[in-house]
C-alpha cells in the first residue's frame, strides 16, 4: 500500500504540475490588474494546436515545437491586449467576463473550423513513452518530463521575480498599483509583458497537456474550471500560491480516486470549498 501511495503521489504531483503551468499566468495577471481573462484557456488551446500543426503537418519533433507553442500564444495575447483588453481595464468585472467569454467562444469556433472537431492524435517520441522502474516503483516517463519541465519553469519564474528589475516592478504593481504608478513604474508596460508571459506559459501547458488529456476545440472551456480552482485556492498574484494549490489539487484528485473512488471527482471540489472557506483570499493571497 505504501508503494502504491508513492506512485499515486507522483502521478498526482505530475498532474498538479500541468495545472500549475496552465494557471500561473492567470493568477499573476488577475492579481496584478484585476482583469478577468476567461479566455486564458483559449491561449492554452492555441499552444496545443501550434504543436499539433508543427508535428503532424510539418513533421517537427515534439520538443522543438514547445518554444513555438509558447511564442504563438504569447504573441497572440499581445495582439488581443492591444486591440481589445486595453479598453476594458476600467470596465466592470462583468463586462470583462462577457468579453473574454466571447473571445473564448470565437476561438472554439475557429479551432473547429480549421482543425475539425476530432481529437488530435499526437504521438510522443519514443524516449518520452512508457515507464521506467526505479527501486521497485514504476514511473511514467512523460510524467517525469512534465515534472522536470515545470520545476525548471518555476525556478526561472521565481528567479525572474526576485532577482530582476522587471520582477521587482511586477511585484510592486501587484502589491499596490497606484503607488507603483506614482513612483513612475510603467505599470501598463509591465502588465502587457506579464500578460504575454502568462499566456505563453498557458500555451506551453496546452502543448504539454495533449499527451495526458488530449486536445479538441472544447479545451478552451473544459480546463477553465480547474484553472479557476487553482487560481482561487492559491491566491491571486502569487506564483508560490499557484504552485502549492496545483499540487494540492492534483494530489487530492488522484489520491481520492485511488483510495475512495466512490467520491471520484467530489474530492477536488470539496477540498476547494473547504480551503476557500478557511482562507477566502486563497492560501497565499493578499487581500
Amino acid at each position: 500500500m505504501i508503494g502504491s501511495l508513492f506512485g499515486v503521489l507522483f502521478d498526482g504531483f505530475a498532474y498538479g504540475m500541468l495545472l500549475f503551468l496552465l494557471s500561473v499566468g492567470l493568477s499573476v495577471t488577475l492579481g496584478m490588474m484585476n482583469f478577468v481573462n476567461l479566455a486564458h484557456c483559449a491561449f492554452a488551446m492555441l499552444g496545443g494546436y501550434v504543436t499539433v500543426t508543427l508535428m503532424n503537418g510539418l513533421g517537427w519533433p515534439f520538443l522543438a515545437t514547445l518554444p513555438f507553442a509558447f511564442l504563438g500564444a504569447a504573441l497572440l495575447s499581445i495582439l488581443f491586449e492591444r486591440v481589445l483588453y486595453r479598453r476594458l481595464y476600467r470596465a466592470s468585472e462583468l463586462d470583462q467576463v462577457l468579453l473574454t467569454i466571447g473571445i473564448a467562444f470565437v476561438s472554439v469556433a475557429v479551432a473547429a473550423y480549421i482543425y475539425g472537431t476530432v481529437q488530435q492524435p499526437v504521438q510522443m517520441p519514443a524516449y518520452l513513452r512508457g515507464s521506467i522502474t526505479i527501486l521497485g516503483h514504476t514511473f511514467g516517463v512523460y510524467r517525469l518530463f512534465l515534472i522536470a519541465t515545470s520545476l525548471v519553469i518555476t525556478l526561472l519564474l521565481v528567479a525572474a521575480l526576485e532577482y530582476t528589475r522587471f520582477g521587482a516592478q511586477v511585484r510592486a504593481a501587484v502589491d499596490n498599483q497606484r503607488m507603483a504608478r506614482g513612483l513612475g513604474i510603467n505599470v501598463d508596460g509591465a502588465f502587457a509583458l506579464t500578460f504575454a508571459l502568462g499566456s505563453g506559459l498557458a500555451g506551453l501547458g496546452g502543448a504539454l497537456a495533449i499527451n495526458i488529456v488530449g486536445l479538441d476545440p472544447a479545451f478552451a472551456f473544459t480546463y477553465l474550471i480547474y484553472v479557476l480552482i487553482v487560481v482561487s485556492v492559491g491566491g491571486l498574484g502569487s506564483i508560490g500560491g499557484s504552485f502549492v494549490a496545483a499540487t494540492l489539487i492534483g494530489i487530492s484528485d488522484v489520491a481520492g480516486k485511488y483510495y475512495v473512488p466512490q467520491l471520484g471527482a467530489f474530492l477536488m471540489y470539496l477540498v476547494m470549498i473547504v480551503l476557500l472557506m478557511w482562507r477566502p483570499a486563497g492560501l497565499f493571497g493578499r487581500r
Binding site: 502504491s4 506512485g7 499515486v8 502521478d11 498526482g12 498532474y15 473547429a112 475539425g116 472537431t117 476530432v118 481529437q119 492524435p121 499526437v122 504521438q123 513513452r129 512508457g130 515507464s131 522502474t133 514504476t138 514511473f139 511514467g140 516517463v141 512523460y142 510524467r143 499527451n211 495526458i212 488529456v213 488530449g214 486536445l215 479538441d216 476545440p217 472544447a218 473544459t222 480547474y226 484528485d253 488522484v254 489520491a255 481520492g256 480516486k257 485511488y258 473512488p261 466512490q262 471520484g264 471527482a265
Partner: protein, 392 residues
C-alpha cells in the same frame, strides 16, 4: 378589382402548386449534436447520410427527399424535444432521424409517439429507447448487445477472473452490467470493480487499483474521444501490458483516433463491436473507399448507423410506395433484412431494434498499420435487455 382577382388567382394557383409540391416531397428532420463536445460524432454520422443520398439519389418511390438539420448542441433533451416538435409542427416533416445521444433520443421518442411519426435512431445505444414509441426503429446498436457476448466469449476463451472498470454514467453502467452479468452467468468471477469519474479522469489511480489485485484480465468502458488513448497510456505507465494481462472492452476504445494515438501500446487489446472499417468484405471495402474519397477519413460506427438508417428509410418508403404514414412505415421496416457494410443485419419485428453480428477483434499490426482484426464472431445477436423483459 381586377388586380385583386389576378392576385387571388395567383394565390390559389400557388397554393395548389405548393400542396402539389409537398405531396411530391418527403421531408426528413435530422436531429444531431452538430456543435459542442459530440460534434465530431455528429459529423461522421451526417457524412454517411450525405454519402448514401449521393450514391442512391434523392428520389425514392417517385418522391423527392428533403432534409432539414437541427442542432441540439449536446445532451439537451428539452432542446431535442422542442426541435422535434418544431420539425413536425412548423416544417411538417414526415420522418424524424438522427439521435446520437440517449437523453435526446428518449425525448424525441415522446414526440414520435404523440405525433405518430416514423423515427429512425441512428446511434443512441441505451436498450430501452425503442420502447418509447411504437413508430421508432434503431439501426445502430445497443450497449448490452455488444457487451454481453463479450462476457460469454471471455469465459469460453479461458478467462476466469476479471477486474472491471467503467465510467460512472449510463452507458458505462449498462456496458459493465451487461458484461459482468454474462461473464458471471457463464461461470466467471469478477474480482473487483471500480467506477471512474466521467469528466477529467486521471486514470493512473484507477489503473493502480486494478494492478493491486493482480488481475488475469481487465474489462474497461470509457467514452470515446480523448479517454481511450489516455487510458492506454495509463496502462503503459503503470506497467500493464495488454499482451500479458488481457484487456477487454467495447470497440469504441480502439477506434481509429485511439489507435493512432496509442500506437504500439494498444497491441493485444481485445474488443467486441459491430463495425470496423477494417472489416474484410467487398461491400465494406467499397464503402470505406467511397467515404475516404469524399471525406478524407475512415467511416466509424457513427457513420454505419447513419448509413443503415438511410437504407431503412429508403427501403421502407419503397415498400409503402411513398406513403409516409407512421404505421405504414414502421410496418414496412419490421423484419427487414439486408447486407450492410458491417455484415448481415435485420430489424426485429417485435422490438423494432437491430439484430446483427457482434465481432470479437484483437488489435494487431498488419502491414505496418495498427488495426482491429476480427477473429471470432457471434451472429444474430438480439438486444438481451429487451429479450429478458419479454420473458419476465
Amino acid at each position: 378589382m381586377r388586380k385583386t382577382l389576378i392576385a387571388l388567382c395567383g394565390a390559389v394557383a400557388a397554393m395548389f402548386a405548393a400542396s402539389a409540391a409537398s405531396a411530391q416531397t418527403v421531408k426528413i428532420g435530422i436531429i444531431l449534436p452538430y456543435s459542442g463536445q459530440f460534434a465530431d460524432a455528429a459529423t461522421q454520422l451526417d457524412n454517411a447520410i450525405k454519402l448514401y443520398v449521393k450514391q442512391h439519389g434523392d428520389t425514392v418511390a417517385g418522391k423527392k427527399l428533403e432534409f432539414i438539420r437541427k442542432d441540439t448542441g449536446g445532451i439537451a433533451p428539452d432542446v431535442a424535444k422542442r426541435l422535434a416538435q418544431e420539425l413536425i409542427v412548423r416544417d411538417k416533416v414526415d420522418i424524424l432521424a438522427g439521435f446520437l445521444l440517449t437523453p435526446n433520443a428518449l425525448a424525441g421518442g415522446d414526440i414520435s409517439n404523440e405525433a405518430k411519426k416514423f423515427m429512425v435512431v441512428m446511434n443512441a445505444a441505451t436498450a430501452i429507447i425503442t420502447t418509447k414509441s411504437p413508430y421508432m426503429v434503431r439501426t445502430s446498436l445497443t450497449t448490452p448487445q455488444v457487451n454481453a457476448p463479450l462476457g460469454t466469449w471471455a469465459y469460453k476463451s479461458g478467462i476466469r477472473k476479471v477486474y472491471t472498470m467503467a465510467s460512472d454514467y449510463g452507458p458505462g453502467l449498462d456496458a459493465e452490467g451487461a458484461f459482468s452479468g454474462a461473464f458471471k452467468a457463464a461461470g466467471g468471477e469478477v474480482i473487483g470493480t471500480v467506477k471512474m469519474a466521467v469528466a477529467n479522469p486521471d486514470f493512473s489511480a484507477y489503473v493502480q487499483r486494478a494492478k493491486d489485485l493482480n488481475p488475469e484480465s481487465i474489462y474497461v468502458f470509457v467514452p470515446g474521444g480523448a479517454q481511450p488513448p489516455a487510458f492506454g497510456k495509463a496502462l503503459a505507465e503503470r506497467g500493464i501490458d495488454p499482451k500479458k494481462i488481457k484487456v477487454l472492452g467495447q470497440g469504441e476504445i480502439t477506434d481509429d483516433a485511439a489507435l493512432k494515438s496509442m500506437g504500439d501500446l494498444a497491441l493485444g487489446v481485445i474488443t467486441a463491436f459491430h463495425y470496423d472499417p477494417n472489416h474484410q468484405s467487398a461491400m465494406n471495402k467499397k464503402f470505406v473507399a467511397d467515404y475516404n474519397a469524399d471525406y478524407h477519413r475512415n467511416p466509424d460506427f457513427f457513420s454505419i448507423g447513419g448509413w443503415d438508417g438511410m437504407h431503412a428509410i429508403y427501403e421502407s418508403l419503397k415498400k409503402t410506395s411513398g406513403n409516409t404514414d407512421g404505421e405504414k412505415l414502421i410496418g414496412a421496416v419490421k423484419g427487414m433484412a439486408w447486407e450492410s457494410p458491417r455484415g448481415p443485419i435485420s430489424i426485429d419485428p417485435e422490438t423494432r431494434d437491430i439484430i446483427q453480428t457482434v465481432y470479437i477483434r484483437r488489435v494487431e499490426k498488419v502491414d505496418g498499420k495498427i488495426v482491429n482484426v476480427e477473429f471470432d464472431k457471434v451472429e444474430n445477436v438480439k438486444d438481451p435487455v429487451k429479450a429478458k423483459m419479454k420473458t419476465n
